[in-house]
Symmetry: C4
Subunit: 191 residues, 4 copies
Amino acid sequence: MRLHQAQSVLLMIDFQAGLLPVIEGGEAAIKEAAWLAGIASELQVPIWLTEQYPERLGGTAPALLDGLGQHEVWQKLHFSATEEAPFTQALAALERKQVVVCGTEAHICVLQSALGLLEAGYEVFWLSEATASRRPEEARLARERACANGAVAVTADMVAYEWLYRCDTATFKEVHQRFLKPRSAQAVTFY
Amino acid sequence: MRLHQAQSVLLMIDFQAGLLPVIEGGEAAIKEAAWLAGIASELQVPIWLTEQYPERLGGTAPALLDGLGQHEVWQKLHFSATEEAPFTQALAALERKQVVVCGTEAHICVLQSALGLLEAGYEVFWLSEATASRRPEEARLARERACANGAVAVTADMVAYEWLYRCDTATFKEVHQRFLKPRSAQAVTFY
Amino acid sequence: MRLHQAQSVLLMIDFQAGLLPVIEGGEAAIKEAAWLAGIASELQVPIWLTEQYPERLGGTAPALLDGLGQHEVWQKLHFSATEEAPFTQALAALERKQVVVCGTEAHICVLQSALGLLEAGYEVFWLSEATASRRPEEARLARERACANGAVAVTADMVAYEWLYRCDTATFKEVHQRFLKPRSAQAVTFY
Amino acid sequence: MRLHQAQSVLLMIDFQAGLLPVIEGGEAAIKEAAWLAGIASELQVPIWLTEQYPERLGGTAPALLDGLGQHEVWQKLHFSATEEAPFTQALAALERKQVVVCGTEAHICVLQSALGLLEAGYEVFWLSEATASRRPEEARLARERACANGAVAVTADMVAYEWLYRCDTATFKEVHQRFLKPRSAQAVTFY
């Protein structure tokens, strides 16, 4: 199954200031998530954030919040976002069945949320390079477990090009100029 | 599928004194298993041990038994625990459908037991880092084969947080203080 | 499922001059694809090429076109070839259900085309060593995702021997002499 | 699914003198296959060999034949043994549904035979360490493809202990003494 812009939600789990310093690869994960969030904003894909027990773990990291477009923040006490009724009801109300997940820690809150979403019938896309744990081995096993349960591992580039769908639109040119081209010395100029 | 405390059993296969000296990573496996067993005790998850032909291979290793809470020990002659009727009848009587398996050797007694449990309809969670063989390559292939048959590879941390379910309980605080926090220099203080 | 010569199409996605210089392993991918295309020609397996927005990305690379036998070229604006009606109609008209895919970039146009073909009911064979992306990690994840959706990863050698089916034919001897034997210092002389 | 002695056949594909010199890891594969064949003989598991076009590729390698117990040899011209009617009819007549496959080359004759057996309804066990190709990468991809189609990757040790089933029999003691114990400096004395 491919991603469709009109069916997608970008869900960023617990990218919190109190967690990030101990996460292996946490900064790179934030950077990757922020890049895709920029494209999501451009394409009107809803951006949702969760925060686990923010009184203790702090709010969402400034590295992600700075420059982030319109978004919603959901606080939670369960490790899985899907155990919080307001979140699940609001998500159902969006009527979008494809959820791109990322965040920290891969093997705790991201994994439990992904499994809960799969159980609820959503298509779950695991944004590998924007998902991290204290131990990289656990991030890897979390991805494998999510995928064994039906999630699909993706890169931000895959998501972007599937949302964009075709190359002869004004939207593609805009996103290409602002996001795709600047990202890499090897960006293809016109695709 | 996620793990639930009320549905789980922790099954530790053949961590026996006569086997451990030849197992690659045997000590680390015991340590991982013992850590999760401590949490299982705290959460009233039944802890079951098997011993293969103990007259020859010796009893369960002291490194696991020392400090282990309430548990049951099952002796066996078949490589798979599921071929021993008293074991399978008692397990059915528990009415818990999720079995977290670990032990030695991964590719013989743990694997055969896991496959037998899957055939009998249990959900099997393969505790990768607490499961070992003489040759690490065989432990890896055993995990792959178990997973190809429906088992789910997990880490002890995954299991612990799924059993704990939410962070605003007295149980979480107790387990966090005694098990989660001391485990790593990078433990998150409050989660 | 095995490949059958009479059911196969070789589909080469966007091996374009404007893309190749930035593709990691692009030259090796072209070489592998060209080798299999030679055998496809010999066995009357249709060879189809796509080109993404050739005004911008250039036509198919000369390294592939030079010496290429009879083939058809399809231009496209969607990243997935399956979103272009003339392509999908012509493919259906071939009445061949096995599509061997390769090309660049693995995680964009090859992946989207492969997923589209799978959705349309084709058997898709992912020619790993003839499929590449700017970042090798994305080529790997693209293959994993295609396979999780039902594609089958193959090598050119696998495809060749499945098309050839048996070793006691004049066709085998011809293909062996011209393609199999020269390929490697370790070629088996008579198979 | 576990292996059962009474349901198994050991099928060794094309371990031929003319192929072995160019196979990466060919000698180790033969050694592994010969070790398991010794146990198969002891347990009355039928041992079948195939030879591809022996006039050209030579007969089965002496390293495998020397000391090999009762066995049957099938010559073939198709790369897949399952395309030879006498072979498939005789296999069906055995009324054993579990086939342990190994041999050379992994990605050609072993793979095609394994896929053919799976299509015919057999359970196929891929003996990884006794299966090899000129390029190890192709042996790895062949295993992945076979497993994606339903085959199960196993080691010789897994097969042996599943066939043996329990440790308190005269057969186990005999096989342990002759095969399991001598194999490794780390053999467990009594299991």
